[in-house]
Chain length 353, copies 2
């Protein structure tokens, strides 16, 4: 049932096909053509090329980390990325947030009948380039085709496998009052880039997605012995949602300084026009770090030495539960006032990842 479950030498009777048909998911010649001409050519590696029901991977020292995400972003292509690069970055970042070194990805495609083969090729090519740049192998995959009107061009699931040294212990359980919080960069670019492309909006200043892999800088921080307590990427729901989740899980309160949070002028302007709050807009290459005060300066210098986190800044601290024993996230405004950052009911922007 995987696309590797196919023969190596196959005739290509439909090489001129220019759109996806239901038969491309049927397990016959057409599916083999698709897999050989598009997927195997793009993703080729020893694990995938063995063409079996699964990929055989070497045993690993240390703990395995497994994570999964489906990508349904609309539109497929947006400034700064596309569903293919996003499907690699997003899953790699989930592994990185665990302190894991990403090694392998699976790729599950759900294609809509009538999809242009050229569009599929563009997405797959972007996915392959991104995986190569990130040093991960796409080791197994699957393709399904659904009837016209029962999907939306392309959905992609990537499941990631990584390894963490047994010594590394990063997670919400390690957040303690007194921990300082570092934000790795400016907020809101991914969500606003997708939204502006989807709605055909033009804002002063181009807004490109921040979609990027965080594993290199995380591995650098860990390798240099920093005592990182917790990492969290700022995707659906943005910084405000991530902090609310972590505060509740760790049973602490948090205070952040609004004036410290980098937001580009173009994102700020676009959010004001649309009535959106950058603190709730999704990012795909941003994270928040929790660590003891003693490590803040060293962490900042390491973060700022990587392009992806050049704007890293300390934004606040964790402290004991508030007097009413609830885990609150408090925003200190530039005017010295305080307001509670609530968790939204839903999301400001659907289908941004």
């Amino acid at each position: 049932m995987t696309p590797k479950n196919i023969k190596i030498q196959c005739p290509l009777p439909h090489a001129t096909e220019d759109t996806i048909r239901l038969a491309h998911g049927g397990g016959g010649h057409l599916m083999q053509t698709l897999i050989h001409e598009i997927f195997l050519q793009a993703f080729s590696n020893p694990f995938l090329n063995s063409l079996q029901d699964g990929a055989v991977l070497p045993s690993q020292d240390g703990h395995l980390v497994m994570t999964t995400d489906s990508y349904v972003v609309h539109p497929l292509f947006f400034p700064g990325g596309d569903i293919g690069s996003l499907a690699v970055h997003g899953t790699i970042n989930d592994l990185a947030m665990m302190g894991a070194n990403p090694l392998y990805l699976s790729a599950g495609f759900i294609l809509e009948e009538g999809l242009s083969i050229d569009t599929l090729k563009r997405v797959v090519s972007s996915m392959a380039k991104t995986a190569q740049a990130c040093g991960v192998h796409i080791v197994c995959g699957d393709t399904k085709v659904v009837d016209r009107g029962k999907g939306d061009q392309i959905f992609i699931n990537t499941t990631g496998l990584g390894v963490i040294p047994s010594s590394v212990d990063i997670g919400p359980h390690r957040i303690t009052p007194g921990d300082r919080m570092i934000l790795s960069g400016d907020l809101g670019r991914h969500g606003m880039a997708v939204l502006s492309k989807r709605e055909g909006l033009t804002f002063s200043g181009d807004i490109a997605s921040d979609s990027a892999p965080l594993h290199d800088v995380v591995m650098d921080l860990i390798g240099r012995g920093l005592s990182i307590h917790c990492l969290r990427d700022l995707t659906r729901g943005g910084l405000a949602s991530a902090l609310n989740e972590l505060a509740s899980t760790a049973q602490v309160s948090m205070t952040i300084d609004e004036s410290q949070i980098p937001v580009s002028e173009s994102v700020r302007g676009a959010c004001e026009i649309l009535g959106l709050d950058p603190l709730y807009v999704a990012n795909e290459g941003r994270c928040v770090l929790f660590l003891p005060l003693a490590d803040v300066d060293k962490a900042l210098s390491i973060l700022q030495s990587h392009a992806i986190s050049a704007l890293a800044v300390e934004i606040g601290e964790a402290h004991p539960l508030s007097s009413n024993h609830t885990a609150q996230v408090i925003l200190r405004t530039p005017y010295g006032t305080h307001r509670i950052l609530e968790l939204l009911s839903g999301d400001q922007l659907p289908r941004i990842c």
Copy 2:
């Protein structure tokens, strides 16, 4: 971005929601409600419950095997199974076909806006029961919601992780002329069960899907020291497609006896009415085994001792490439004639898995 990326204690402001809304995928309260009330309750296990970006798994001896499949079966519920049980069986079987013992699954859900929560609960409950019965943990997951008309109720991706002892080497590369072929059971029930339900057809005799997990019987065969050369489950494209793929990969020809292939009366009748060939119809609990003559009797007795493969039978053998040096799959008919089983261009039945 995974559903574990949420807080443990969360208010449930929308517990009365009876359909999926876009906001259920938004990373806020609604998504947390969905995850806590449905997914965590059903799938609860130590790996999933840690509520982090990924699941931390123990290191494993032996080789890891990773496989992925998306499930888009229509309708969601059919005689003998549903998309939830199928999403567990299908991926477990891909691992089993590698000789791997299935350990962990990820679960990625793509839900269509407007989906009934009760329908989702039924699918998730079936998935959880099936995973428990198969002895695998669903260790991480993700939920996305797409707008009405951009999906089809529920799509599920499961990615599986298993382990094979370094000593086990099962695959097409080990198929050699002289190998005997064993079919593990009767053909065509899954495809015909889904089709009859989808089209509202009634046939004499109920046709229930053969969807079932093959790992127990495979582990039994391996544990008893049988020299299995290759295993392949008979999903999209059925037995005929699987044999064509294997013949081409292994560069051998194969001959099978039509009279030996078990097909139930009801499946045979339904196929005749619809002009379908049971040899090309998808199965979800059937496989073909390649092994040396010396092991055939022992393999048959072990297979027949398991309910899932009680009808196991030897159906043919592999032999050198035919005179024109092509890898052919030849069917020996009850009348003594021979015909070549070709690989279809597409598939007889779309969206059966």
